[in-house]
């Protein structure tokens, strides 16, 4: 097992290198000057000579492969350069926002598990009942709606209409809250983005749990459990349900990239001060040091998410160990 983990960790290195190479090349070989945005012809904020000087200082006048190895060397020393926009170190920009993204994503996963697994369970046990049909319809709607449009609906109904929850940011601006009041304030700001982020996941997980349990209920050991006279409640809880969770673990590996992808849109819609919104605004401003940082951190999250899912799978299903 230890060897397997080590091998997988080592395989992550070439993967991350390839990803960094692709995004670096795209940004540096694309037509257009990365500094063009900062030269304002009206205000004459910078003379051409000053621009050349800045370009030289930033290393932008060197060949792309030299710049890449320079970036790589700095990255290995934990230095991602400075944001062109805010002039702050990229690591500081990203890591100050990362906890907010993890908070949003973590609560979204929690909500998904808490809602989807019972829904799928009931759908499977009471197959073809009214509840099952409602859950099926709900799941189809959840899968088909674009996340950002659902977010707009939520804002319109619960924020603009009913005034139940705020729709922008993470805290009420201008109120210096502390202690429990501050926690309540943040929680109120979390409600809508978490719902928008998790609706698709809830739909997928509920469907998956339903079919997983239905499959397990056909297995011989479930028939044996019933044959020995066990109450249906215990057959499902002790035998069927626990085994139906095994394939769900693979879904976790798919959910983490989904949540990373979703965070760009949902954080942008709700003005959530996280890494996703930083990523989108850095792309819109062509702030390439920040883009590189966000790319690498997202890649790391996706890749380690896959690894965690695979490890969990081996952990819950001992048959995988040898394979």
């Amino acid at each position: 097992m230890g060897q397997y983990i080590l091998r997988r960790l080592l395989l992550m290195i070439p993967l991350l290198l390839v990803i960094s190479l692709i995004s670096f090349t795209v940004m540096h070989c694309a037509p257009g000057d990365p500094l063009a945005m900062y030269m304002n012809p009206q205000k004459r904020s910078m003379t051409p000579a000053e621009m050349d000087d800045l370009r030289h200082k930033l290393g932008l006048d060197r060949p792309v492969h030299v710049q890449y190895f320079y970036w790589l060397g700095n990255t290995l020393q934990g230095n991602w350069g400075y944001s062109l926009k805010s002039r702050a170190p990229v690591t500081e920009e990203i890591f100050s926002r990362l906890p907010n993204t993890l908070l949003l994503g973590g609560i979204a996963i929690l909500l998904t598990l808490v809602l989807a697994i019972p829904i799928g369970l009931i759908s499977a046990i009471k197959r073809y009942s009214l509840i099952d049909y409602l859950a099926t319809i709900g799941a189809f709607i959840g899968i088909s709606m674009p996340g950002f449009w659902f977010a707009l609906l939520l804002i319109q109904v619960f924020s603009n209409g009913l005034h139940w929850f705020p729709s922008v940011g993470m805290q009420t601006i201008g109120m210096d809250l502390t202690g429990p009041q501050r926690i309540t304030d943040v929680l109120r700001h979390l409600v809508l983005p978490v719902l928008a982020l998790s609706v698709v996941e809830i739909a997928y997980w509920a469907r998956y749990q339903r079919s997983s349990l239905l499959e397990v209920l056909n297995q011989d050991y479930v028939r044996t459990a019933r044959a020995k006279g066990l109450q249906e409640k215990w057959v499902i809880l002790k035998h069927a349900f626990r085994n139906s969770l095994i394939p769900m673990v693979t879904l976790l590996g798919l959910t983490l990239p989904d949540l990373v992808n979703g965070s760009y849109i949902i954080e942008s819609v709700f003005g959530w001060p996280g890494m996703g919104r930083l990523g989108v605004s850095s792309i819109l401003q062509r702030d390439y040091p920040v883009i590189m940082g966000v790319t690498m951190l997202s890649a790391l999250m996706v890749v380690s998410g896959n690894l965690i899912a695979d490890l969990l799978y081996a952990f819950v299903d001992p048959r995988i160990h040898q394979g």
Binding site: S23, P146, F148, W149, N160, N261, Y264, I265, L284, V302
Partner: protein
């Protein structure tokens, strides 16, 4: 069955049961009510998109500032879905959005099928290092933060509808490749392939004439399921201002513009979102229906 007189059964068989493969698929597909409903919706939508200019009441790009006075105008008898803040007719823009979103979805999936089928056939047929290389490449593509890379590439290449199509296609071929690879692996050991080999068919003949036609059904299902996925991606990119560039109206673009007027112009943001959802759900139902229809074990049920 035994109670039915033989004569009538004979008659029915002639009238009802077509002997072609396609006829069998269609007969099975028809039983799937949701898939049929989805198909009807999609046919209407595609019809409207193809007719385009003939059914649009106005030019979707035509501005009418005097009418709008900087505010979206609510639906009226002249403008059935109202106008946006520049006085452009929203019904025409939604129809033009259908043209753009559908063509992005179809072309992007076409590209992903082309890459996926090529990669999958090569990997499955040749095995060995080709299989290894292709499978590893697919693994890389599966574990990159694809949406963020799509945004970056699109922003740096100057957003255009063609870039959106190519980028979405390039990042979504892996599923098709895996599927085709599996089908080819399964088929290539069968007798009819050995027969083709014995008759001296070249590898390209075997792949194109014997293997791929037999792997067509899962590819068609994958394409049907892939289109809504591509449409969702396009609308998400456009919604962030990193997809189809304005003034063209894709559904995602319309929502990007409508966002500012969320609280006051429901006619602006409701129709594009509903259309995306209905299109996506219809393609999914049709895909489900096709999957069942192609599956011989489902027949006669």
């Amino acid at each position: 069955m035994s109670e039915i007189p033989i004569e009538r059964e004979f008659h029915e068989n002639h009238a009802e049961a077509p002997h072609s493969q396609l006829g069998l698929v269609w007969r099975q597909f028809r039983r799937h009510k949701l898939a049929l409903t989805g198909l009807v919706f999609l046919l209407v939508l595609i019809g409207v998109a193809v007719l385009g200019r003939w059914v649009m009441p106005y030019d979707p790009l035509l501005q009418n500032p005097a009418l709008a006075r900087g505010m979206p105008q609510s639906p009226s008898s002249q403008h059935l879905l109202g106008t946006d803040a520049l006085g452009r007719d929203l019904l025409s823009r939604v129809i033009s959005g259908a043209q753009i979103s559908l063509s992005v979805g179809i072309v992007a999936v076409g590209i992903s099928l082309l890459i996926g089928i090529t990669m999958g056939s090569l990997a499955g047929f040749y095995g060995g290092w080709a299989d290894n290389l292709i499978t590893r490449t697919a693994d890389v593509f599966l574990s990159v933060p694809s949406f963020f890379l799509m945004m970056t590439v699109n922003a740096y290449l100057r957003p255009s509808i063609y870039n959106v199509m190519v980028i979405i296609g390039m990042f979504s071929w892996m599923g098709v490749a895996r599927l085709i690879r599996g089908e080819i692996l399964r088929l290539k050991e069968m007798d009819f392939i050995s027969a083709a080999r014995a008759l001296g068919a070249s590898p390209s003949e075997i792949i194109l004439q014997h293997l791929l036609p037999n792997a067509l059904a899962p590819a068609v299902v994958a394409a049907t399921i892939g289109i809504p996925y591509a449409i969702l991606l396009e609308s998400s990119l456009s919604f962030l201002g990193l997809g189809v560039p304005p003034p063209a109206a894709s559904w995602g673009n319309l929502l990007f513009e409508a966002r500012t007027w969320l609280n006051m112009a429901w006619w602006f943001w409701l129709p594009p979102g509903l259309l995306i959802s209905l299109t996506v759900i219809s393609f999914n139902f049709v895909g489900d229906g096709l999957r069942d229809a192609f599956d011989p074990t489902q027949r006669g049920r």
